[in-house]
């Protein structure tokens, strides 16, 4: 069934038992966005030091795709340098635009979201968390300069 391609087991797993879904008191960076189409809402907070993501967590509500994507994001980005995290966000966006072939070792569980590409309306759901991350990191870079 075509649905299984969209809602892969690993997506449902992240949706039902999201990773790193909690508040993060004292986080240096924090950003919240929503998707007006379906009311998806995601907040990402992270502790940064030495240019690395030391700890990252999300909170939010919304459809399985948006929430699973956020959960996967926190796993994928945890411990990465800010530069690596920003690069991954770009690659993820590329995958959702059908331009980037995902490498399993870089993408991990995120590969499962590739099926969303065939459902144009839902791409925004998958990308939302990454929008939030990019804005959060951009904020961190800006404040680091000051």
């Amino acid at each position: 069934m075509a649905l299984d391609e969209l809602y892969k087991e690993v997506i449902l797993d992240h949706y039902k038992t999201p990773r790193n879904k909690r508040g993060l008191p004292g986080a240096e960076v924090s950003c919240k966005k929503n998707n007006p189409l379906c009311g998806d809402e995601i907040t990402i907070r992270a502790h940064l030091s030495d240019g690395r993501v030391q700890e990252i967590a999300f909170e939010g509500q919304g459809c399985s795709i948006s929430q699973a994507s956020a959960s996967m994001l926190t796993e994928a980005v945890d411990g990465k340098s800010v530069t690596e995290a920003a690069a991954l966000a770009e690659k993820f966006r590329g995958m959702m635009e059908g331009k980037v072939e995902p490498e399993e070792d870089v993408f991990g569980d995120l590969v499962a979201l590739r099926g969303v590409v065939k459902y144009p309306v839902r791409i925004k759901c998958a990308v939302l968390a990454w929008d939030v991350l990019q804005e959060a990191l951009a904020g961190a870079t800006t404040s680091a300069r000051h």
């Binding site: 649905l3 449902l12 009311g39 809402e41 459809c63």
Partner: protein, 415 residues
């Protein structure tokens, strides 16, 4: 399946008039439960549009050849037909345009900006579709008038306990929906119209959902403006328009400027035609409004009372079955007093996920905020799943929805 309710309406037979039901999405019977969004079109409407383009197409008013005269005559006949359908006393009360959004913008501009001042109030309700909110926000920003909102009770009805405090000497416009596109609430329009008129205000009724599903008489309701979206009542997209009391339309400024709405154009000023043409600039939606005539004929052949009775039965049946399977149904559960837009929440499964699985079963519903974010906040949800009905829907469609919900539950499980 036999017809339900009054037995006046045979939905299975009606379904055969709609070519789209020959489609089998994902190999399934097409179960179209999104008519509050846009309705499907019967062969008669499609043929009327085709016939116009094949045999009569020309622009209106400007030419003297036979085709143009035919096109003009048909367009003006369409105006008279739509006016009659809503009980308007005269075709000149009927302005053609793309539907409700354009109509509210027209009134907010042509009436609101002309007559509203700082300190005046525009009264809306928490039920309103964005098309009956945003144009009034523009108007308020431009004039200094203030927006107020009628809140809702537990069942999603307007809370009018303090009507005297809501509609006051400061109120200049009352703009409310005739039937909620999300939870089907049908506000007491005549009562609101009387209260508005008592303080010299005008009442604007968003008829996008009211007109397709009920017999409406603008004189009986004593409303100043009624918006009509033809695409929700079996007609072509971008058909419909605005009813306005002639004496009110006469006092209004034009909305869009351009060809055909003018009397004289000079370098420094222009003069304008009388209504309705004052409000019809540029080339009109000719084929669409002519197609809408076929839609009105189709609906009146069925009879609007039968349309309403049929939808009441389906709404009652759908609410009962949804409650049976444990869904939360928003708004009133009394089908007698509400329209057929049924919004629900099921097993904490997000409406977008739900709609995606339903699609695989051939069931078309609408997930989201339904252009009513204010109402979503009142209901305390980010979005709902909405099923809505029309003349071609049957109990079998509701059964298909319920059966598909079982698959949704199996797929996502409980969280």
């Amino acid at each position: 399946m036999t017809a339900i309710g009054g037995g006046m309406l045979d939905a299975e037979r009606i379904r055969k008039d709609f070519p789209i039901f020959e489609r089998t999405p994902h190999g399934k019977r097409l179960v179209y439960l999104d008519s509050a969004n846009t309705s499907q079109k019967p062969r008669q409407v499609i043929d009327a549009v085709t016939d116009f383009y094949e045999r009569h197409n020309a622009n209106l008013y400007r030419a003297v050849y036979e085709l143009a005269e035919e096109a003009t005559a048909r367009f003006e006949e369409a105006r008279a037909r739509l006016a009659r359908f809503i009980g308007a006393p005269d075709p000149s009360c009927l302005v053609f345009n793309r539907g409700t959004t354009e109509s509210v913008n027209l009134v907010a501009h042509g009436y609101g900006r002309k007559f509203l001042r700082e300190g005046d109030e525009i009264l809306l309700s928490d039920l309103e579709h964005h098309s009956n909110v945003v144009p009034w926000q523009f108007c308020a920003q431009a004039t200094g008038a203030k927006l107020r909102f009628i809140s809702l009770d537990e069942e999603g009805r307007l809370d009018l306990a303090n009507l005297d405090g809501l509609i006051t000497e400061r109120t200049k416009v009352v703009a409310v929906t005739g039937q909620s596109n999300v939870i089907g609430t049908m506000p007491p329009i005549r009562r609101l119209a009387d209260a508005a008129h008592a303080v010299g205000a005008v009442i604007v009724v968003d008829g996008a959902q009211l007109v397709p599903h009920n017999r409406v008489d603008v004189v009986e309701l004593d409303i100043d403006f009624l918006t009509i979206s033809g695409h929700k009542m079996l007609g072509p997209t971008a058909s419909g328009g605005l009813y306005g009391k002639r004496e009110v339309l006469d006092r209004m400024d034009p909305f869009l400027g351009g060809g055909e709405m003018i009397m004289e154009v000079h370098r420094d000023h222009s003069t304008f035609k009388d209504p309705p043409h004052r409000f019809e600039a540029g080339t009109m939606n000719i084929a669409q409004e002519i197609g809408l005539v076929a839609a009105i004929d189709y609906l009146e052949d069925i009879g609007m009372d039968s349309v309403r009775a049929h939808e009441k039965d389906l709404t009652r049946y759908a609410i009962d079955r949804l409650l049976d399977v444990g869904a939360t149904v928003f708004g009133s559960h009394d089908a007698e007093s509400r329209g057929g837009a049924v919004s629900f929440w099921f097993r904490d499964i997000h409406p977008h996920d739900m709609a995606q699985v339903l699609d695989q079963e051939g069931v078309c519903v609408r997930p989201g905020h339904h252009c009513a974010q204010i109402l979503m906040r009142c209901l305390g949800v980010p979005a709902t799943t909405r099923a809505s009905f029309y003349v071609y829907n049957t109990q079998e469609d509701v059964d298909a929805l319920i059966e598909a919900l079982g698959k949704v539950e199996a797929f996502f499980g409980s969280r």
